[in-house]
């Protein structure tokens, strides 16, 4: 009996310890950009303004779903200014392809069925790229969250609503933080 009690207690303590652990860090990268580097203008309103391709690896064991927020911690009132939110991403996905549809009538790419986009700083459920003030360089944080549950969240959530919805389910996080400065046509070589 004592052995059983000890085993149960150990298991409970282990679970409690696991839940209290800091989210494990994993790798977020892109074939188009990287942390600390200037992102190509195609992912901004100086170009096609399509969402960039993302990839991740090293997800924590037990990941059931993923969510992505692209945010500028140096803009917004209050910060951050949100450029993009995607969630309900199946754990089988290894990333997001370039150009996630901005029209909700268009289907998500294969392998991303069920994924939804949230409301960005302009109130649009789509990607809209960086547009910092002329001459300034801003940092764009692509934060990817690994979740321990399959949440069926409705489309159009704001960042605050998404963070509240995934609270207690985040078991891992990865970030990629490229930069951007506007590349206006009248300054092009």
């Amino acid at each position: 009996m004592r052995a059983l009690t000890t085993a149960v207690l150990a298991a409970w303590l282990g679970a409690a310890h696991s839940a209290a652990q800091e989210p494990r860090t994993f790798v977020v990268e892109s074939p188009a950009m990287s942390t600390g580097e200037m992102m190509p203008r195609d992912y901004s309103p100086d170009g096609r303004n399509v969402s960039p391709p993302l990839a991740w690896r090293g997800l924590p064991e037990g990941t059931r779903q993923l969510a992505v927020i692209c945010q500028d911690h140096g803009a917004g009132n209050p910060p951050p200014w949100v450029h993009w939110i995607v969630y309900n991403i199946p754990a089988t996905a290894t990333g997001l392809p370039e150009g996630i549809p901005f029209d909700p009538a268009d289907p998500m790419p294969a392998g991303l069925e069920g994924a939804a986009q949230g409301s960005n700083g302009w109130g649009l459920s789509m990607y809209r790229g960086p547009a910092p003030p002329a001459g300034t360089v801003h940092h764009y944080d692509f934060a990817v969250f690994a979740l321990d549950a399959e949440l069926d969240l409705p489309p159009g959530l704001t960042r605050a609503e998404l963070l509240a919805s995934i609270e207690g389910h985040v078991i891992g996080q990865g970030n990629m933080v490229p930069l951007y400065r506007r590349q206006p046509a009248d300054a092009a070589p």
């Binding site: 309103p45 096609r48 303004n49 909700p104 649009l124 789509m126 809209r128 547009a131 046509a185 300054a187």
Partner: protein
């Protein structure tokens, strides 16, 4: 942060249509009310005097031919924009069918003549923006890319692209959007809403001087026959005594009824 501000909540093409249906027409239309009959309309004078029968408007077509205030190239770009804002699709005819282009041209000749230059510079800037960011003139882009360009204009992100927008790209977008709504859902007296296609699109029941309990019941049962008459077909409203085809017909308010 200058460009990353809320410059009006953005809208998709479909969302625009939904919004226009709910609020656009209500904002544009005067409040007279008419009870329709099969062969004409019965107009109730204020105070509940017995209505008077007036003839129905003959069907009209969206006028053709060049615009007075824009070049052929500018007209082509504007037509493409207007067509994306309220397209002709399975929901029905769109803004071009409603004559919104002609309405805008007329507005630029009359009450909104001060905006003619804003149109010319804005259209040129939008086309430069399309070429710089999507590699082709606006009219040659796919519908999806045209929508993407318009969204960038709407939220003001195109402003900083160095393509010559005079002020915020959102200002230009909102000007064109407002005129397109007016030209699609406004009173046909001002040259748009040809054949009442805008009112049909949003299932507007029409102008009525009096609504009976039976009208209300039929409206809620979706059985009410819509009234398709201009407010100026009724004696109590004056539009300078000119016909809808007369450019002077709208008087000084330029369609801002």
């Amino acid at each position: 942060m200058a460009d990353e501000t809320r410059e009006g909540s953005a809208i998709s093409r479909r969302a625009l249509l939904r919004t226009a249906g709910a609020a656009g027409a209500a904002a544009l239309l005067p409040g007279p009310v008419v009870a329709a009959t099969e062969g004409g309309a019965r107009v109730a004078a204020p105070g509940g005097v017995e209505p008077t029968a007036v003839p129905l408007l003959p069907p009209a077509a969206a006028p053709a031919g060049p615009l007075m205030n824009l070049t052929a190239h500018e007209t082509e770009i504007l037509a493409a924009i207007v067509d994306r804002l309220i397209p002709s699709d399975d929901l029905g005819p769109g803004a071009l069918d409603a004559g919104a282009l002609r309405f805008i041209d007329r507005a630029l000749s009359e009450a909104d003549s001060g905006q003619a230059e804003a149109y010319r510079s804005g259209l040129a800037a939008l086309d430069r923006y399309s070429r710089y960011t999507r590699g082709a003139p606006f009219v040659e882009l796919s519908a999806r890319d045209q929508d993407s360009v318009l969204i960038d204009c709407q939220i003001g992100s195109a402003t900083g692209a160095g393509v010559g927008f005079d002020g915020s790209s959102a200002g230009f977008f909102n000007m064109v959007k407002s005129h397109t709504w007016q030209g699609t859902f406004g009173d046909p007296q001002y040259g748009g809403n040809v054949n009442f296609v805008g009112w049909d699109l949003i299932r507007y029941p029409g102008l009525r001087m009096r609504v009976t309990d039976e009208d209300q019941r039929r409206l809620e049962a979706e059985e009410l026959e819509p009234v398709r008459r201009s407010a100026y077909d009724f004696g109590q409203f004056q539009a300078g005594g000119a016909s809808a085809d007369d450019p002077s017909a709208s008087g000084s308010d330029g369609g801002r009824s």
